[in-house]
Amino acid sequence: MSTLVFLEHHEGELQKDSLGVLGKAAQLGDDVSALIAGSGVEGLAAQAARFGASKVYLADDPALAAPLPQPRVDVAADLIRRHGFDTVLFGATVLTADVAAGLAARLDAGLNWDLVELTQENGKLVGKRPALDDTVYVDVGWKSEPRLALIRTGTFEPVESGGEAGVEQVDVQLQDFSTLATMVEQAHEESEGPSIEEADVIVAGGRGLGGPENFALIEELAKALGGAVAATRAVVDAGWYPYSAQVGQTGKTVTPRLYIAVGISGAIQHKVGMQGSSVIVAINKDPNAPIFEYADLGVVGDLHQIVPKLTELVNAKNAAHFPRG
């Protein structure tokens, strides 16, 4: 297997999902190459090597500064054709989904998406894909090469192997149509506290909170637990909480150790974003809320009573563990 992993980066850091896929590829194959496309990205090569790349291709060009997919399709297609990679892997994001799909068209290649596992079976690469709202798991494969795959967010943990890699600059030649779309503005919200994708504990609020002011209850509990605050699509759309905290199908996929869902009914669109959490606790006044089907502990009751009390108990525990003075 000769595998290329497309590595996404943001603000000078390779993304965790990209590194996780890189580690998985290194575990499956012999030599794993990585492609880093951007402007001023030379410094990222060493990090890629530490997480499993034995060769790093750098496409470093001001034309690649904005995170837009089409110039990246051009760069990746050239590289894949030149080196004949048989497998090309992506950690799925808004950007990489468009890069992978564009590449599938350009290279006339098969693309499997939303994979949660990759294995070699009798020399054949097999992907596992949840389908129909995760009610079935489908084993999928490819009939031709290169095999393209998008891996679901949060699937593979990065593994630091501490290696070194040869680094090669690649020529950046772009198609005329690839540069027509331009980034005119980027607004990146800085959220307070740990980002929800990295957080060990998440307290999430939904429409059941009743209003944006009640997110204070969620924030206090999260603070007591040393965790991050998340929100459902419904409340983000309603403007109660910023998008950066959105969990679910159109938001982030999170896999914390503990996920506390407050006032969240738990429709499938939300479930797909958080079902990988180790322990799920749900508080909701509706006994028929779907979230009770998959919460490890469900409490049917009034969140306005339960949440402040819970915060108080957790704070008391913290004080007992870390006495002041």
Binding site: D98, W142, L180
Partner: protein, 250 residues
Amino acid sequence: MDIPPIESGAGMKIAVCAKVVPEQARRIDPETKRLDRSGEQTLNPFDANAVEEALRLKGDDAGAEVVLVSLGPERSLDALRKALAMGADRVVLVADEAAAGADLILFGQQANDSDGAVMWAAVADRLRRPLISQVAELTVSDGTLRGKRQTEFGYDVIEAPLPVAVAVSDAINEPRYPSLKGIMGAKKKPQQTLSLSDLGVDADRAGEAGSRTEVYAIGEPPPRGETQRIDDDGTGAEKIVEFLLERKAL
């Protein structure tokens, strides 16, 4: 969300690439390992957002045209007629080549049967058009489309000249319900069916034969542990703490 007026989208030709999906009781046929499409069919709900946005852009401009482009068997027309009833002008059933002459090629954010969210980037590449995906707000002005979208990191604003391929998020609008008049009128609107050979596409390049991916097996999802549910009798918070300690989650 404020929707700014369109300054000059006049006479625009908009193609909406739509999928027809099973209406309910979605199941995979264990024999063929493919989705059972034998029951009632419907317009992919996410594509209704693309139709709605196309109709908004068209407004009352009689020179503009909204053309629905889809791929599927003849009976897909029944489901596609919903878009005509919403107000789209005509349907062309078969392939994306039919969208080649459009100023704007619109997509919904995903198919709700396969959860695929990949068509627009592939079509944009084949048609050599600029691409903007996940658009939650869009305007067209002086031949340039501007789209605002959500990513994992915040909001992007991206511009591209027409003709352009755009995938809209389902947060962009609330699709209208077809009126009774619309439903009646939909039957009379042009509905053109093209075969693969009409388009000069070899049969072995399409459908399952042309697919570059395959399904080996269908399995069960991994089991989750036991779930327990309690009614809060005033000790709910204490019970949560006990549970978390027991699970070493605190």
